[in-house]
């Protein structure tokens, strides 16, 4: 039983670490909570069996790292738009082309203010 919880806890905590470094860091909270619960369960069983708790400590360590990375990211990382220079250039070019196209269109029916 202890082994099962340790394996599940490790899987969940590794998943939490992976998610926390990806842009999806908000989602890392779910596996982190799961890992924490499995870690506690494993801790309880290993206390019963009075066996080594080294791996369980690793689960908690990984979970804490994942939680701190995702919390840090959600608080300090403001969302910023990346490089839009190329888009702005396309906008400008498009407007110039559009004016040319519009000159060729039949705009007689338009209501000019």
């Amino acid at each position: 039983m202890k082994k099962l919880f340790i394996i599940l806890g490790l899987i969940a905590s590794v998943l939490a670490i992976i998610l926390s470094v990806l842009p999806l860091s908000n989602l890392a909270f779910f596996p982190a909570i799961v890992a924490f619960i499995f870690g506690l369960a494993a801790f309880y069983f290993s206390n019963k069996e009075k066996s080594s708790k080294k791996t369980i400590q690793l689960i908690f360590l990984l979970t804490i790292i994942a939680l701190s990375i995702s919390t840090y990211k959600s608080i300090f990382n403001a969302n910023e738009v990346g490089n839009t220079e190329e888009l702005q250039e396309r906008e400008k070019e498009s407007e110039e082309n559009a004016i040319e196209e519009l000159e060729g269109l039949d705009l007689d029916e338009i209501d000019i203010e």
Binding site: V81, L87, A98, D111
Partner: protein, 259 residues
């Protein structure tokens, strides 16, 4: 004489309905698009809606420009740089030229519609990238009804509707041309609601949007648009549900408003 008076009255009344009191050139609306992943809203992209004046030798048109750009944390995974434009009449929001230039995760496409309202046709040009390199054009002439618009001008046209006179349950069908297919967008007025937005707490008109004979938008009343219940009718909040999940669009800032 009576006939002329009648025609004049008709002309002015139609002018009154079509009058655009909601926006002018120089308006800039910024939105944040979020996607709902297992109950957690993740901010994906910034959407801008900007209006400006465009002068040709014959007329002055309004350029309605919508851009979408993913936040930098997503750029290395799925970069989006989309540009949607519509050149419309400043009063009636009748479109004359529509351009859609999209770049989504390596895929790019250019769509252009040139409207000829007197003939009731649209000349569509779609430019796509070839797999072997280079581009190719697809030209087509499409028949449209007199009030068919593109997606951008439809969004702005919604704002010129006289929503004050709408009763709960009133619906309006708007013909929209998208991907060379004429589709009917059905707009249902659901009532008024006060919601808190990025530009303060606002009393809003709540509108449900659905597409006739299409299952792009899922759910019943899950695709809702909130427009402020004032003269500006700013779109402040929108929720949508598609096959791959649901998301929302929230306003961040609004400048250059008409009223």
């Amino acid at each position: 004489m009576q006939k002329y008076i009648f025609i004049l009255l008709l002309f002015f009344s139609s002018f009154g309905i079509a009058q655009n009191n909601a926006f002018k050139a120089g308006e800039n609306l910024t939105f944040t698009a979020s996607y709902n992943m297992s109950g957690v809203l993740t901010e994906l992209a910034q959407v801008n809606m900007v209006t400006s004046e465009v002068k040709t030798s014959k007329a002055t048109l309004l350029r309605l420009k919508c851009t979408a750009a993913t936040y930098n944390k997503w750029d290395s995974f799925f970069k989006i740089r989309d540009l949607y434009e519509s050149y419309v009449s400043p009063t009636t929001i009748k479109p004359y030229l529509y351009k859609r230039d999209i770049f989504e995760g390596g895929y790019s496409k250019l769509v252009q519609y040139k409207y000829s309202h007197s003939n009731g046709t649209v000349e569509s040009i779609i430019t796509k990238k070839k797999k072997t390199g280079g581009t190719y054009d697809q030209k087509k002439n499409l028949k449209i009804s007199s009030n068919t618009k593109d997606i951008v001008s439809t969004i702005y046209f919604l704002r010129t509707l006289d929503l004050k006179s709408f009763k709960s349950g009133t619906y309006k069908t708007l013909p929209v041309l998208f991907d060379n297919k004429p589709t009917d967008v059905i707009l249902t007025y659901l009532g008024k609601e006060t919601i808190s937005t990025g530009i303060g707490s606002k009393m809003c008109y709540k509108l449900s949007i659905s597409i006739k004979n299409s299952d792009v938008l899922k759910g019943n009343n899950d695709n809702i648009l909130w427009l402020t219940a004032d003269e500006n009718k700013i779109p402040v909040y929108a929720t949508f549900k598609v096959a791959v999940g649901n998301g929302e669009l929230r306003i961040k800032s609004a400048t250059g408003l008409k009223n």
